[in-house]
Amino acid sequence: MATTAGGRKLGRVMPTGRVLAIIVPFIVLLVVGGGTWYLYGALNPPPKQQPIAFPHPVHVETLQLDCQFCHRGAAIGPAATVPAVEQCMFCHKVAVTDRPEVQKLRAAWEKKEPIDWLRVYRMPDTVRFVHEAHIQAGFDCAVCHGNVGQQQVVQHARDLRMGDCVTCHRVNEAPTDCTTCHY
């Protein structure tokens, strides 16, 4: 009752066609715009806020440290590993101790607490990635991680989903059996 009455009234004031002509483009705009905005956000997540703003550029470019000086597992095991606080303290017992970010580091050291770095690259739990095999095969870190020496905050630089992995494996005649990466 109420709806038909209301509908008739509305129809008299403004024909349905014109109502639709106003509402439909608005909805389309909302859906397309919102979708684009959402997709853009999903594809370009903002860089994560690390507990300490560790800059790769100064350590890699200015100080010329080797990646494997810090990421010691890369050539010998599955995980590249992120260095222990102790390893930063080789230098930061004396180096730039006045800077606030380094003071955070020293505070962690004094409290004997590890730093909870956030992961940037992370495979799903069903995937087994092994650094060692790739480093031994002669790939540079930059092949997958981009030029980390230029990244103030580490960015996800390569697709590294199954299609990407398997394509490179095919090209290099590396194994593509499912149990290479899933077990």
């Binding site: 087994r128 499912c178 077990y183």
Partner: protein, 242 residues
Amino acid sequence: MPKWGMLVDLDRCSGCRACVAACQIENNVPINTEEIVNQRRGIQWIRIERYWEGTEYPAAKVRNGAMLCQHCRNAPCEPVCPVYATYHNSEGLNTQIYNRCIGTRYCANNDPYNVRFFNYWEPQWPESYYHYLNPDVTVRSKGVMEKCTFCVQRIRRTERQAKREGRALKDGDVQPACVQACPTDALVFGDISDTGSRVSRLAQDKRHFRVLESLGTDPVVFYLKKVDPQHVGDAAKQPAAH
């Protein structure tokens, strides 16, 4: 490319279940609570089957046998999977790709050895156990099938180690958790395409047989019969020298 296979010497198996415990911890197999076992939904990639013969001592005898996935070369479980989540790979492993599995359970229903297990629930561990989970093995979730992998993570790790040391794999390098844990050396693992490997040589023993061989599944898990000392004069009396 090696073809992996295993041998179970029933004369050496004492039924201690060290293999079961080792497998459980190596492969993140969920804990089977009493409730789960009563529902017959417990998960054991390897189990000890115990059979009694006779009822009164001294005639009563117990027979133990390890049962695990037989990695059949003609596996009944493989062709029934609608999504190829289980297939035979070039190393002779009957694989189970957890993320591909959609949980139809056809494979388990077609499996004559009862060695495939379905996760009816999200597996749970007490929180203090989380640190004991093996990072090299996927923790399965509700709705997928799981089974013995011959510890493929150990095969991969050993292959990498050999490569790092610039050598080929040697017989006995790869040891699944059950084989490593067996105190009586009843389990032997190796490359059955290499006629000189220990598993190949032992599989030639005259006590050898395979379980449900008449089904034509062509398993790669070989068994050696138990020697019964009371049956003097049995043809198959002498256990092979290990």
